[in-house]
C-alpha cells in the first residue's frame, strides 16, 4: 500500500481528473460514449493544471475548449462548463456575469480553496436574478491551492509571488496586518496540501521566525477542522491509505534566513543548472535560439531569434533519470542515447533492404513469414523511436544552451571556488583576483561569490579589506545594495546562533582528457573542468536529519512541537513520539530552490523506505533572489 506521502503529484492529478469528470470518480471505459465539456479557469487554475495535465490528456477527458475566465467568451449552447477558479471578488463577479449572459447549458463550479458564505450568497443572488439556479449543477471546494512540480516537490503559488516572497516577509517596514495576510495565504495553501495528502502531520519549527508564526496558525486551523466532527476533512473514505498508516508524517517548517548562501550558490546538477541559467518555469523551459546572421550587400538583416519552449515532464525518462546528475554525466548520457537511437534506426532501415531482396525469391516463402513478423514489429515500434528522437533533440538543445552559458561565464570555476569557501578549506586563489578578473562571469556572478564568502566567514573581514572588495565589485559593475542587507542580516543572526556550517566537501577536478572528449562528442567541454560532486549536507538537510531520526543536537533541540491531534493545545518542547519518522515534509518559508531539493533527494536515497516532500512558498533562482536582496538593501 502506498504510503501517505508518496507522490503528491498522483493525488493531485487524480483529484483534478475527478473534478473534470463532474466530480464522479473517473473510470476508464474503452467503449464509453463521449461526453464533452468546456473548462474555464483563472490564472491560478492554469498554473495548477499545466504541470499536471497536458492538452492531449484534457482532450481525453472530454474537454473541447479551455479558456481563461477573464477572456471574451462566446455563448456555446448545450455544453456543460466546468469552472476551476479562486474565490476572489473579481472572479465571482465575472461568474455572475456569465450566469446572466447564459453562456453555457450547465455550470459546475469548483473553487480552488474554500469559498466564504457571503460570496456564495453573491453567486446565489446572481443565479436567481438570471433564473439560472437549476443550471448550477454542482458547487465544490476542491482544496487544491498549491502547485505540484515533481512527484515530491510543491510550490505554493506562482501568480501572486510578490505577496509571499522573501522580500515581503522580511521587509523592515511591514505592518502587522500585511504580515497577517501573508501568513494566512501560506497557511491556507498548506492546509489544502494536507487535505489532499490526507494526513495530519506533526509540526516542528524553529523559534522566533516567520516559520513559527506559520506553524502556530496551521496548528490552529488543523485543530479546528479536526474538532468539527461534522465537516472534518480528515475522516471518511476519501482518505484512503492515509487512514491506515500508523505513522504520521513530520512537517518541518524552516525559514529562509537560516541559510542564505544556498540560493546564491552556483550549481552543477542538471535541473538546478537549467533553473539557474535558463528561463525555467513550471516545468517549462524557454530557449532563445538565434539563427545565423545573413548580411546581404544591401544592408544587415537583423538576427532572427526563434523562441522555443520545451516541457520537461515525468514522462520524459531521460529527464527523470538525470535531473540530479552532474552536468558532464548528462552530456555523456545524451551521447549514449543518441548512439542507441541511431543503432535502432539502422535496424529498421536494414529491414527494408532485406524485404526488397527476398520478395523476388520464389522459394523463400518460409523466410517471408519471419519477415512479415519483423516488419510488423518494426512498424509498431516506430512511434516509440520517434518519441525517443524528440526527447534526444530536446535534451541536446537544452544541454547545449546550458553549456554555452557555462563556457561564457566560467561557472565551473565559480562552483569550485564556492564549494571551497563553504567547506572552509583553504583557497588557492584569492577572492580579489577572481572578482577583478574581467572575463570570468557576469557582475552578478561575482556578487554572488562575494556574498557567499561574506556569509560563511566566521569573522567579518576588516574594514580595509571590505573597502578593497567593494571597490573591486563596483569596478566590475555590481550593485552593492544586497551587501547592505546581508550585513544587517548577519548582525541579526549572530545574535541568534552561530552561522551555519556546510559540512566538508571536496571537488575533484577530473582531467580534461575525459571520455567526453575522446568520443568526439558534440559537447566539447574543453576548458571546462569535469567536476565531481561529493555528498554534502546543506543546513536544511541536516536539520531534517536531526528531527527525523530524533537525534539530539543543540541546533534543533529547542524547536517547538505541535500536534494538532492532541486534545490539549499546549505545546511542549518534548516530543511525545520517540520513534524516527518514516515520512517528512520540509517546507521553507520565504523561498526555496532546486539545489536544496536535490540535496534532500540525495539524502533520502540512502535511506530505505523513507520519503520526503519538499515545498516552498516560492521558487526562485539566484538572479531573482539577488534582485529581492537589493530591493531590501535599498531601504
Amino acid at each position: 500500500m502506498a504510503s501517505a506521502a508518496a507522490s503528491i503529484r498522483e493525488r493531485q492529478t487524480v483529484a483534478l481528473k475527478r473534478m473534470l469528470n463532474f466530480n464522479v470518480p473517473h473510470v476508464k471505459n474503452s467503449t464509453g460514449e463521449p461526453v464533452w465539456k468546456v473548462l474555464i479557469y483563472d490564472r491560478f487554475g492554469q498554473d495548477i493544471i499545466s504541470p499536471l495535465l497536458s492538452v492531449k490528456e484534457l482532450r481525453d477527458m472530454g474537454i473541447t475548449l479551455h479558456l481563461l475566465l477573464h477572456s471574451d467568451r462566446d455563448p456555446i449552447p448545450d455544453v456543460p462548463a466546468v469552472y476551476f477558479v479562486m474565490p476572489t471578488e473579481e472572479n465571482i463577479d465575472r461568474m455572475c456575469q456569465d450566469l446572466r449572459n447564459q453562456l453555457y447549458e450547465s455550470y459546475y463550479l469548483n473553487f480552488i480553496s474554500a469559498i466564504s458564505r457571503s460570496k456564495l450568497e453573491d453567486i446565489a443572488n446572481a443565479a436567481l436574478a438570471a433564473s439560472a439556479v437549476t443550471q448550477v449543477a454542482k458547487v465544490f471546494d476542491q482544496y487544491l491551492n498549491f502547485i505540484t512540480l515533481e512527484d515530491d516537490m510543491f510550490v505554493l503559488c506562482n501568480q501572486n509571488k510578490e505577496l509571499v516572497s522573501y522580500r515581503a516577509i522580511n521587509r523592515p517596514d511591514i505592518t502587522d496586518t500585511e504580515m497577517e495576510t501573508v501568513m494566512d495565504t501560506i497557511v491556507d495553501s498548506l492546509f489544502c496540501f494536507f487535505v489532499t495528502l490526507g494526513a495530519v502531520p506533526i509540526i516542528r519549527c524553529s523559534r522566533g521566525t516567520a516559520a513559527e508564526m506559520v506553524a502556530v496558525k496551521l496548528d490552529k486551523k488543523l485543530r479546528e477542522n479536526l474538532r468539527d466532527a461534522r465537516n472534518s476533512l480528515f475522516t471518511g473514505d476519501t482518505l484512503g491509505a492515509g487512514q491506515f498508516s500508523f505513522q504520521r508524517p513530520l512537517l518541518v517548517l524552516v525559514d529562509r534566513n537560516i541559510d542564505l548562501a544556498t540560493p546564491l550558490h552556483h550549481t552543477w546538477t542538471y535541473q538546478a543548472l537549467v533553473h539557474d541559467v535558463l528561463d525555467f518555469h513550471l516545468n517549462r523551459v524557454n530557449l532563445e535560439e538565434s539563427s545565423g546572421v545573413e548580411t546581404s550587400p544591401a544592408g544587415a538583416r537583423p538576427k532572427r531569434k526563434n523562441k522555443k519552449s520545451y516541457d520537461l515532464t515525468p514522462v520524459d525518462k531521460f529527464w527523470q533519470k538525470h535531473k540530479g546528475s552532474p552536468f558532464p554525466e548528462v552530456a555523456e548520457s545524451v551521447q549514449q542515447e543518441l548512439e542507441s537511437y541511431r543503432a535502432q534506426e539502422d535496424e529498421v532501415k536494414r529491414l527494408k533492404s532485406i524485404m526488397g531482396l527476398e520478395g523476388e525469391d520464389e522459394g523463400a516463402i518460409s523466410m517471408l513469414s519471419d519477415n512479415t513478423a519483423k516488419l510488423t514489429s518494426a512498424v509498431s515500434s516506430l512511434p516509440e523511436l520517434l518519441e525517443k528522437k524528440r526527447l534526444i533533440d530536446l535534451h541536446t538543445n537544452v544541454a547545449t544552451a546550458v553549456l554555452e552559458h557555462i563556457k561564457t561565464r566560467k561557472l565551473d570555476v565559480y562552483f569550485e571556488y564556492e564549494e571551497k569557501i563553504m567547506s572552509k578549506t583553504t583557497l588557492d586563489k584569492s577572492l580579489l583576483d577572481i572578482i577583478s578578473d574581467p572575463d570570468a562571469g557576469t557582475p552578478e556572478d561575482k556578487m554572488r561569490l562575494f556574498l557567499i564568502y561574506y556569509i560563511s566567514t566566521q569573522q567579518a573581514p576588516s574594514e580595509a579589506d571590505l573597502e578593497q572588495y567593494k571597490k573591486a565589485l563596483t569596478d566590475a559593475g555590481c550593485n552593492l545594495n544586497p551587501l547592505q542587507y546581508i550585513k544587517q542580516w548577519k548582525a541579526f543572526t549572530k545574535m541568534a546562533s552561530a552561522p551555519a556550517n556546510y559540512g566538508n566537501t571536496t571537488t575533484k577536478p577530473m582531467g580534461l582528457l575525459s571520455r567526453v572528449m575522446n568520443t568526439g562528442s558534440q559537447f566539447v567541454m574543453e576548458g571546462v573542468k569535469n567536476l565531481v560532486l561529493k555528498q554534502q549536507n546543506l543546513p536544511v538537510t541536516r536539520i531534517l536529519d536531526n528531527l527525523m531520526e530524533m537525534k539530539s543536537n543543540p541546533e534543533t533541540d529547542d524547536y517547538r512541537y505541535f500536534d494538532p491531534k492532541m486534545l490539549r493545545g499546549n505545546d511542549s518542547s518534548v516530543p511525545r513520539n520517540k520513534n524516527p519518522f518514516q515520512e517528512a515534509i520540509v517546507f521553507v518559508v520565504g523561498g526555496g530552490n532546486y539545489i536544496e531539493y536535490q540535496n534532500l533527494v540525495d539524502y533520502i536515497k540512502g535511506k530505505q523506505g523513507k520519503h520526503i516532500l519538499y515545498g516552498c512558498s516560492e521558487l526562485f533562482n539566484a538572479t531573482q533572489f539577488i534582485k529581492q536582496l537589493s530591493q531590501l538593501g535599498q531601504k
Binding site: E33, W36, L65, I115, A124, A127, L128, V139, T372
Partner: protein, 334 residues
Amino acid sequence: MAVDITLLFRASVKTVKTRNKALGVAVGGGVDGSRDELFRRSPRPKGDFSSRAREVISHIGKLRDFLLEHRKDYINAYSHIVSDYGRMTDTERDQIDQDAQIFMRTCSEAIQQLRTEAHKEIHSQQVKEHRTAVLDFIEDYLKRVCKLYSEQRAIRVKRVVDKKRLSKLEPEPKTKTRESTSEKVSQNPSKDSEEKPTTEEYPEKISAEAQPELGTWGEGKGEDELSPEEIQMFEQENQRLIGEMNSLFDEVRQIEGKVVEISRLQEIFTEKVLQQEAEIDSIHQLVVGATENIKEGNEDIREAIKNNAGFRVWILFFLVMCSFSLLFLDWYDS
C-alpha cells in the same frame, strides 16, 4: 478531499430568496420565476448541431450494443462440440458483418455531413473549435466500436486458418482432407477475395479425384478384365495425386496466414499515407503561394532597377543642363 457544497449553495439560494422577498425587491425570482424558467427552457432552440450529434452518438451506441450482444454467439459457436443451442450459422454471421458495415458507413457519412454543416453559419471562433472537437470525439467513438467489429472478424478468420492447420495433423489425410475440402468449399465464399483463385482449384481437384475413383469403381465391376499391374498403376497415381494435393494445401494455408498479416500491415500503412496526404496538400499550397510571391518579388525588383536607372539618367541630364546654362550665362555675361 473535495467538499460538495451544492447543498450549501441551495440553502443560500433559499436565504437570498427570502431576504429579497422580505426587502420587497422585485427580482425575476419567486413563484413566477420558476414558471419563467420552465418556459424559458422549452422554447430555447436546442441547437441543431448538438441534437444531431447526439443522434449520431445514439446510433453508434446501438451498433455497439448489437455487436456486443451477438459477440458471444459469434465467437463461441466455433467449437463443434458445443450443443447447437447457441450456435450461429455462417449465413447469420455474414448477415451481421454486412449489417455492421452498412451501419458504419452511414454513421461516418453522417459525421462528414455534420462536419461540413458545422462551419457554415457560425462566426465565432470558439464555437467552431468546440464543434470540431466534438466531431473528433464522435469519430473516435466510431473508430473504437469499429475496432470491436474488426476484432471479431479477425478472430473468425484466424480460427478458420487454425482449423485447417489442425486438420493437417490427422493420420488419414485422404478422407479427412476430403471432408475439410467440402467444408471449405462451403465456407470459401465468405472469405477474402484473394482466396477466390485457390477455391477454383478445389472443385477441379475434387472432380479430378472423383474421376479416378469413379473410374476404379466402374472398373471394379469388370475387375477380371484389369490386370494387377494396371491396379497398381492406378493406386500409384492416386498416391501421387494425394501428395500433390497435400503440398498444395500446405502452401495455400501458409499464404492465407501471410495474407492476414499483410492486410493488417496494409491498414496501418493506409492510415499513415492518408495522414501524409493532408500534410502534403498543405505543403503544396504553401509552395504554390511561395512561387507566386517570388514571381511578384522579381517583378518588383525589375521595376525598382528600372526606376533607379531612369532616375540616374534624369539626374545626369539635369546636371549637364545646369553646367551648360552656367557656361551660357558666363559667356553671355562676359
